[in-house]
Amino acid sequence: MATTPNRNAAAGPQAASQGFVYLPLIAGWLVPGAGHFLLRKWYRGALLAASIIGMFALGLAMQGKLYANAHDILDLLGLAGDLGNGLLYVVSRAAGLGAESVQVTVADWGTRFIVVAGMLNVIAAVDAHNLRTGRKHA
């Protein structure tokens, strides 16, 4: 009986400091670099955001295609990669950015830039999650 309050008191602050451990993962996926910003890793977050947003913007500027549906397995993989961009993909689709089809060689590169930006964003979000859970130090 006497140990129960002590145990709760010891677990209380630890539980409070844990919070929602998936928040950096979700925030990092929705907005590139946001997961690291939440963990006060300002420089890393800024570099990640600049790299991923820059790559996505360059892809759009090269008339890259934003996958909207999946007719075959390659389209499905492209769509999965694009969805890794989180809100960037949603906003760009809503704004009508991105080409409907690839017309020139540069547009093909742009499509790859957009897909790879999405995959890099997923890697960055998982890194933020690992920092949050302590799996990765510093």
Binding site: R44, L47, L48, A50, S51, I52, G54, M55, L58, A61, M62, Q63, V106, W109, F113, V116, A117, L120, I123, A124, V126, D127, K136, H137, A138
Partner: protein
């Protein structure tokens, strides 16, 4: 619409990917920089080497 050359596209791709790889795959800033630089050189170097190989094969 921008139309970078093939080499410019390779360098930009390598720069962005190396930055993310360096930050996410290593723990300390020094090791992050070194690994990012290593990835950048490997990306650009392999693109140049493969380009020359394809050029020589096509002759």
């Amino acid at each position: 619409m921008i139309s970078p050359s093939h080499f410019t596209a390779v360098v930009l791709f390598a720069l962005f990917v190396s930055t993310v790889f360096g930050i996410t795959m290593r723990d300390t800033p020094r090791r992050m920089f070194r690994y990012g630089l290593y990835c950048f050189v490997m990306f650009c170097g392999s693109a140049i080497v493969l380009s020359w190989v394809m050029f020589l094969i096509a002759r």
